[in-house]
């Protein structure tokens, strides 16, 4: 594609996203699905543009899955849309609950999920990193290594170490404030990471220290970890390299997720990151996405309650991901027992993703998000993308504060585990 053509399309895309509204589509539209409906996608575009929750009457709080978050509502004491004095409500989150180690407080109870270089474009990673820096939260490198372009933002970048150990070097662990072991991912539990051949370009392969143009399938699990004791050694190894960082452990949601969580606690990690079965991915078998492991809504209460029974709930942070779409989902996840959430797909939608599901192809993502193609990557401007993501964060912050205000709470920490504030309308 010519540079002139790229400039034309980039300009059109940025302008077009500002113009789109729900009235731009017909009743037969192919936009959206049960999780991310057409209204939810457009509402996210609107929030990414304005920095405020939508006021047009569009449905921006839930999707159409029929159960889970979409069947939970809050029992408000006041109407959230009429909330006025909510600026003083505290939605910050302290990430280290232990008595040792650095204290890290982020301005909102969420941060960005790992999306690897190769799975997504460098420009999208930069947009996320810029937004994380400006908003005082974090983003994650994902499992594809740590591009040098992220160095200016390293105070807000989580180094992820996955089972394939792609691009894992001592310096990328030493420079970070948080390191995450990724044992599993909700979208493909029990399977390692997938990067299909046409996304494994020369640049991507160089970063991952792998062979280009072949499909990369990571093993499952870590080949050095076959027990909780091995896992503790793993955590100890990381902390030996960088004693000043926090350690997060990302796992999926099997039937014994509570056991897994307590094992993570006793291994000395600071953060348990539960990734539910309905999370996003750059490439995964459709079979695994739907059928293996449980949705996050069912896993959070199980882990939260078990940690309480074991007497350790306040000593470790529980972060939830996998299908977190809105500020309301975040609030519901916290009410079910999480401390905060980790988001991925919502950030992609903020910069124009339409959930078409072509991410696994080399030239599949038409707007430069989930692609390693050099030409297509240029369609996404990092500064523009960062502004969109920051606006989304702002809109969510306002909405979350309104929810807390309407519930009569003064901080997001008071919401944790408050299932009594929820009402369930799912299938009885």
């Amino acid at each position: 594609m010519l540079n002139l053509a790229i400039e034309k399309h980039k300009k059109n895309l940025q302008r077009g996203l500002e113009l789109l509204s729900i009235d731009s589509f017909t009743n037969e539209t192919a936009l959206g699905n049960k999780g991310w409906t057409d209204e939810l996608i457009i509402a996210t575009y609107e929030q990414a543009l304005t920095g405020r929750p939508p006021s047009s009457g569009i449905e921006y709080r839930k999707g159409n899955r029929g159960d889970g978050f979409d069947a939970l509502d809050f029992k408000y004491k006041l109407d959230p849309s009429e909330a006025k004095d909510y600026d003083s409500i505290d939605i910050s989150l302290e990430l280290n609950r232990k008595s040792y180690g650095p204290k890290i407080r982020i301005s909102c109870p969420w941060y960005g999920a790992g999306m690897s270089y190769g799975s997504v474009s460098l420009n999208f990673m930069l947009a996320r990193a810029k937004a994380a820096q400006i908003y005082n939260t974090f983003t994650s490198t994902g499992e594809g290594g740590y591009p040098d372009e992220l160095l200016p933002y390293k105070e807000h970048v989580i180094t992820q170490v996955s089972t394939g150990m792609f691009g894992v070097k001592e310096e990328t662990i030493k420079r970070c404030r948080i390191m995450e072991f990724k044992y599993a991912q909700g979208a493909k539990p029990g399977l390692g990471g997938h990067l299909l051949a046409d996304k494994n370009t020369v640049d991507v392969a160089k970063m991952r220290e792998a062979v280009p143009n072949v499909s990369l399938y990571q093993p499952f699990p870590f080949h050095s970890v076959y027990s909780v004791e091995d896992h503790k050694k793993h955590v100890d190894w990381a902390r030996t390299m960088n004693p000043n960082m926090l350690v997060s452990v990302k796992v999926s949601t099997p039937i014994d997720v509570d056991m897994v969580a307590i094992g993570i606690y006793y291994a000395g990690a600071h953060i348990i990151h539960l990734d539910g079965g309905y999370g996003g991915t750059g490439a995964a078998p459709e079979f695994a996405k739907k059928n293996i492991a449980m949705p996050i809504e069912l896993a959070i209460p199980r882990v939260h309650n078990y940690l309480i029974q074991e007497g350790v709930r306040d000593d470790i942070l529980l972060m939830a991901s996998g299908g977190i779409r809105t500020a309301h989902d975040i609030a519901k996840a916290i009410a079910l027992g999480a401390d905060g959430c980790i988001i991925g797909t919502a950030e992609a939608i903020a910069v124009g993703c339409t959930q078409c599901g072509n991410c696994e192809r080399g030239r599949g993502c038409q707007i430069g998000i989930a692609t390693s193609d050099r030409e297509l990557s240029q369609l996404l401007d990092p500064d523009w993308g960062a502004r969109r993501i920051i606006n989304l964060y702002k809109a969510w912050s306002i909405e979350l504060k309104r929810i807390l205000y309407a519930l009569g709470l003064s901080s997001v920490r008071e919401l944790r585990g408050r299932k009594d504030l929820l009402r369930y309308s799912g299938y009885a």
């Binding site: 002139l4 034309k8 399309h9 589509f25 099997p254 492991a293 299932k419 929820l422 369930y424």
Partner: protein
């Protein structure tokens, strides 16, 4: 070479790792386009004129025009689609809808010119016996490519549902015997045994082990006479041979097969059948009329009782075992419900399996299920509930692009005519894709053998149970 080494070399040379050969088998009847861009042609013309002025005739980006005239013209004509939807000579005036993936980029770039991208009526009409159009497309993909579908984006469907959609499969986070799972060098066995395994050795003539081993727990069910033609039968037999499984066919068709073909067939016979010598080549047979529970006996052939499943089959199953049957084949409706329409296959199978375990005779009879096994995910879920194997009929016909209809509540399938090689490859591709997904489920659990999944409900995540735990203490609206 020493005798020991010679024996080992012999084993090595005869060892063949199970693999289904797949080959691209494109559809011979056109698949409908899923999406269609709706273009406002007058606005398109207006846009083209405007862009011509902006990018070609006038300076647009800055005071200086970039590039030469040819480059600017090319940029102006560069289409907002990487899939070639607007690549015909008429461009947006005649979009190629078959290429559209609903990426929405054209809509994003030109919201006033593109009215919408819609799902086509032809796609929506693909619903088959309660299966969604997307599921039919997935089966077509599997039959064409022989691979499981890998896509970006997260799961896009409902949270859960009735029947098989109320079960998720477990995975094993750390502790697991398979080191690499499906990508690794270790072999995950999917073979299963259909038949009777006596609990005690006996000198009686009925102490025989009547069993047949198939390479994967999927049998082809071609027993419905009105759904058959020559193309389907030949393809199914050939596919069964390729894939190391069996096909159930009516006996009047079975008798016309060669001895070589009969080895892969399970004839469905009735009490009037007397030509026992014709059963020499087959390994198992199936009967429908067994009201007196006395099975037909043909030497060492596995005896299968075919029963329309309802919620009260447990006692019948015990009687069948005691009277010498080796397997029970439960037939459900195409939607997976029993004939009373009260129970889903998952509940009937679980109940039967548990009853046989309590009676200590579980290994003396195999459980096979037909009906409602329409997607690859149903195979591990059915085995987890207690099946030894499943049969496919609807999915087989979808792979063969048969025509579906429902008349007066009765499901009808009209098969087409096609070449045996094509049909067999389509079925083999489908089985290969399902086999791959079955291994994926086993490897996620850390299991090395599909037999170990049978009845292992501890490795299932059941929606009804977990919902009570997660939301049971929340006020209901």
């Amino acid at each position: 070479m020493s005798p020991v080494h010679a024996a080992e070399a012999d084993v090595r040379s005869n060892y063949k790792r199970y693999k289904i050969e797949t080959n691209y088998a494109p559809p011979i009847f056109k698949e409908p386009a899923r999406f269609e861009p709706k273009v406002r042609k007058l606005r398109l013309a207006k846009m083209l004129i405007e862009e011509f002025f902006e990018y070609v005739l006038m300076d647009s980006f800055s005071r200086k025009a970039k590039g030469n005239l040819t480059e600017r013209l090319k940029a102006m004509l560069d289409r907002p689609c990487i899939y070639g939807v607007f690549s015909s000579p008429l461009g947006g005036f005649k979009p190629i809808k078959e290429r559209c993936t609903a990426c929405m980029r054209c809509k994003q770039e030109y919201p006033d010119v593109i009215e919408d991208i819609v799902t086509t009526k032809e796609f929506l009409s693909l619903e088959r016996f309660g299966m969604r159009p997307e599921d039919v497309m997935t089966l077509w993909y599997e039959a064409k490519e022989g691979k499981e579908l890998v896509k970006g984006m997260g799961y896009r469907g409902s949270f859960a549902g009735p029947g098989w959609d109320s079960i998720w499969l477990d995975m094993s986070e750390i502790v697991r015997p398979t080191r690499d799972g499906k990508m690794g060098r270790e072999y995950i066995s999917t073979s299963t045994d259909i038949g009777r395994r006596p609990m005690l050795y006996s000198n009686n003539s009925d102490g025989q082990i009547r069993m047949v081993t198939i390479e994967l727990p999927i049998i082809l069910d071609c027993s419905n006479r009105s759904w058959l033609n020559r193309s389907v039968i030949e393809s199914a037999i050939y596919a069964a041979e390729k894939c190391g499984t069996l096909v159930i066919i009516p006996v009047e068709i079975y008798v016309k097969l060669s001895d070589g073909e009969r080895r892969y067939a399970i004839p469905l016979i009735d009490r009037e059948f007397k030509q026992s010598e014709l059963l020499n080549a087959c390994k198992a047979f199936e009967t429908e009329n067994h009201a007196d529970f006395e099975p037909l006996r043909y030497d060492d052939k596995v005896r299968i009782a075919r029963i329309n499943a309802d919620g009260k089959i447990d006692d019948m199953a015990i009687e069948l075992v005691n009277n010498g049957y080796d397997a029970i084949h439960l037939v459900f409706r195409p939607d997976g419900k029993d004939i009373s329409n009260n129970y889903h296959a998952k509940d009937v199978i679980r109940s039967l399996h548990n009853r046989l375990v309590r009676e200590c005779i579980r290994d003396e009879i195999s459980i096979i299920a037909t009906g409602g096994i329409n997607m690859a995910e149903h195979v591990p879920k059915a085995i987890l509930c207690g099946c030894d194997a499943v049969c496919i009929d609807t999915a087989l016909h979808i792979a063969l692009q048969s025509r579906f209809s429902i008349n007066d509540g009765k499901y009808e399938i009209r098969p087409r005519e096609f070449d045996k090689e094509w049909g067999a490859q389509r079925i083999a591709n489908l089985l290969a894709a399902w086999h791959e997904q079955f291994i994926e489920a086993l490897s996620a659990m850390g299991k090395r053998d599909g037999r170990r999944l049978r009845g292992d409900v501890g490795r299932g995540i059941f929606y009804e149970e977990l919902k009570k735990e997660a939301f049971g203490d929340i006020e209901h609206a």
